[in-house]
């Protein structure tokens, strides 16, 4: 008999993830406040629950994909109080990107009710969610991590255990801060080359085989026309929004305040993305984050 999964939060990411669980043979009980999201999930083969509480009834797993930590705490503890109705045989996987402290609070409340919990934020974006090729950075006890694989594998290509509850969030925050740093750095280095007479394609090819190489340069060149099929060559549409990168960099700032760590490069990157979002009199938060290149470019004569 098919195992049952409650899926809470069917946005751009969650919708694709839930669909992959259906394909893998799970009985998915989906919940979202948006009728459009419900309809889409239904088409993909999910059962639609009227309430979050109804969705979790009798399930083996609960997977959630929600916008921020306040909502995660609200759903599990403060308002919907799902932890009070989730079966204590279930394993809860929160795939939202939130502060480690949010995950730790939910994990602690879950443990108090005998419910197993892991945080499992993802990397990879909407396309990877649809394709089932996300990366999961998981925080939780070793045994819970192993148990979580059954649900994560249909949705992901890489599944890592970062440590105990909250560690998945820390790993994601560190990774995305580093991504922001080398994306801004790559845009900056390419523009410095352009401003000094180099062809960005030639410079990119050189740096790809040299010590400047990094993921942004390899998979996601920010200069229009250098690489096909990336947001830079599609007017910075699609991809990973500036606003989402700013959310993750905000979590990095908070983490650094919490641990009293110095993050000069991450802070510089955060402020560049923030200046970029607001520059030129229009909000560019919905553009792909590689559009940071535009902050560096000079006015055309």
């Amino acid at each position: 008999m098919a195992k049952k999964v409650a899926f809470i939060g069917l946005g751009n990411m969650g919708g694709g993830m839930a669909a992959n669980l259906v394909k893998a043979g799970f009985e998915v009980h989906a919940f979202d406040l948006s009728p459009a999201a419900q309809a889409h999930a239904k088409e993909e083969g999910c059962g639609i629950a009227e309430t979050a509480a109804a969705a979790v009834e009798g399930v083996d797993f609960v997977v959630s994909m929600l916008p921020n930590g306040t909502i995660v705490e609200s759903v599990y503890i403060d308002n919907d109080a799902l932890l009070d109705v989730i079966p204590n045989t279930a394993l809860v996987l929160d795939c939202s990107t939130v502060a480690p402290a949010n995950s730790q609070r939910v994990g602690k409340e879950a443990a108090a009710r005998g419910i197993r919990f892991v945080d499992a934020p993802v990397s990879g974006g909407v396309a990877a969610a649809a394709a089932g090729t996300l990366a999961f950075m998981v925080g939780g006890e070793e045994a819970n991590f192993e148990a979580a694989r059954e649900v994560l594998q249909p949705m992901g290509a890489n599944i890592f255990r970062a440590g105990d509850v909250g560690a998945g969030q820390v790993a994601k925050i560190c990774n995305n801060m580093l991504l922001a740093i080398h994306m801004a750095g790559t845009a900056e280095a390419l523009q410095l080359g352009i401003d000094n007479g180099l062809d960005p394609k030639v410079l990119s090819d050189i740096m790809l085989k040299s010590s400047g190489c990094n993921w942004s340069l390899e998979k996601y060149n920010p200069v229009p026309g250098v690489m096909e099929g990336v947001p830079a060559s599609n007017n910075y549409q699609g991809g990973f929004m500036v606003d989402l990168m700013l959310k993750d960099l905000g979590l990095a700032m908070e983490a650094s305040l919490h641990s009293k760590s110095s993050i000069p490069m991450g802070s510089a990157a955060r402020n560049l993305f923030s200046l970029h979002k607001n520059a030129e009199g229009e909000d560019k938060g919905a553009k792909d984050f590689s559009s940071i290149q535009q902050l560096y470019a000079k006015p055309q004569a």
Copy 2:
């Protein structure tokens, strides 16, 4: 009959490069002011010239590897005035890392005398110089670049043409600025993870397969003990010195002033390496540049 190469500047880098030219069958006429460097080059099979002018007599190629642009201009133009004695059939390759304007001045003076010139700064360090696996970033006319291959191939694994004279320097400056940015960023992200409870080895493994991946993380992890055989696991000895990275970042600052470009991330990195060099009451300029990790680490309780 063997082709003749004059090699000017037999330091840690130049010594290994000249030796590889000997192995490849060139007749190498070497010059350096240091008797120790001369003796070492002699052992490697170079002929030793008493003066730079003597070294270039009748050669097919001149290769130079000198500490900075002032010395390069002095050797070729202002004092030794080698361009006045180099045969106009020779091709000159300056492998020093200097400002594009230095290369352009030498190139222009060479052209006025009918001498072909390329700038060809290297990436890869002392070990690669000895092994013949350097990367060369070459600036010069297409035909001169093709002619330069004959000499560069025995010394290098990757040979790129970046553009016209000076473009090799620009490419190297951009690459090394980006390297400094992602090295500092990698140290920072790893320390943020450590400060928030993660194992740096686990976090490194995760980021290596995620969007944070970059050359520093892959080849040169800055946290002691994470990766074998790198400077971080050898008390930051060997490798690429902080002082050399500061030299290259200084060239990046100058290039950005020249082209009126914004380089906030590169500037932040330059200042972090500079603060690191001077922190703790001792000059750390001779340590490997991955020792920037120490600037981020907290005092042990």
Copy 3:
């Protein structure tokens, strides 16, 4: 008959402030968990209450001076729940430096009970607290601000209304971020001058009469020996601790995340103070914040 003031929190700042209220003729009911603080307040003429709840009984004003926002919320709402026992004729003044959201939550809960509330964080340090020359940045309704003057005047030299509840905190955060920026900038400019051969006293005198002039240069020169009677000339003892500046810069980071503002200069300053705190293998958080000069200084040859 003397008006009654409950004073909650008798630390280095609160102790001096309470003493000034006694001198001004108020009947002060003081509370602090520390017996030493209690004893000191008793000497100054305060009555000592056994509990916070006892302190507020029948008072006209409540003044609190507490270490952070979690404690403020705990005292007024979550644990001690003082708002449930404070007379609704009283005016509450929280002089702690906390996030605007902390003040706004307390203000809202107070209003729900018919209690008037203002946030009134201070500027000026321990000496000004003792001397009664603090600056108060007040957030609250105009009428409440006017009513608060009676209590603030004996403790302060400058009393400003910044806006509604929480605005006092915003003003303090902005002011202290700007202070951190020009202190770091002043240290940096003076060191650049020193490194280029200038006498820091001469350079300071020039900048004091020029467009570089700022409060740090005028009142608080960070280079030892330039100005008498400042922490820099007393081994950076006394004054305003690095850890307190880091607390305020942390509040600035949080405020900028909340309002989605760019704060590149404030962020750079925050990270410099954080790097300084941790550099050299010892925690320098207890030194005066002008010790940031030491981060810039070079090792002595």
Copy 4:
């Protein structure tokens, strides 16, 4: 009999300065390549020389006000070679803002010919040049500084000796770097306040009397409408151009490279002014530098 002054360079600044020397009773022999500048100087009572060499004939003082160090070296040494024709009884005052190394080279060549030289860069802008209220930061021997007063006093309100030749430039560079830092910081702090609900006028008034106070806030508030008669209240016209601040910050970058100093705050400021110049698809280099406020402001909804 009137003492004779050669004045080289009659731009916006030099024109006003030369006029003040005429008013003070000097016989001024003026030179500039621009016919318009010549005509204006003639109206002000200057004698116009056909060449720079003619201007310096038989003079007691030479004052120059030129755009950059290359031009200064060209005029005195490399092309016009004025030092070969200036009487060796004359005192030369170069009021241009250039690198200390430029001043030192000219000073050395002057000394070799027995000519006294001081560098005397100014602070204060076009209005102060016209009013004779400039500040002069002078580098040169004590005796030469004293001799220079005779010429400087009619043009300036504050005259400082910073040290030996070149020290005037160092002082100006440090001062203007600090000015850039607190101007950017002031714009940033005010915007953070605005974004969190404060009135910038109220916040400015508070910070003026608090530890955030600085020259930018006091004389030059960057938010439109807060202060009358400043560029911010005149669409950022007039004042001190972004391009001139970028020139001075470029000199600060070069000085820091020369002395191997860390200037993280100055570098951050330089890059903010550079990003601002280029943002929004139009070159804003000709606006007053307090327009940096616009980089921080958010798009209007």
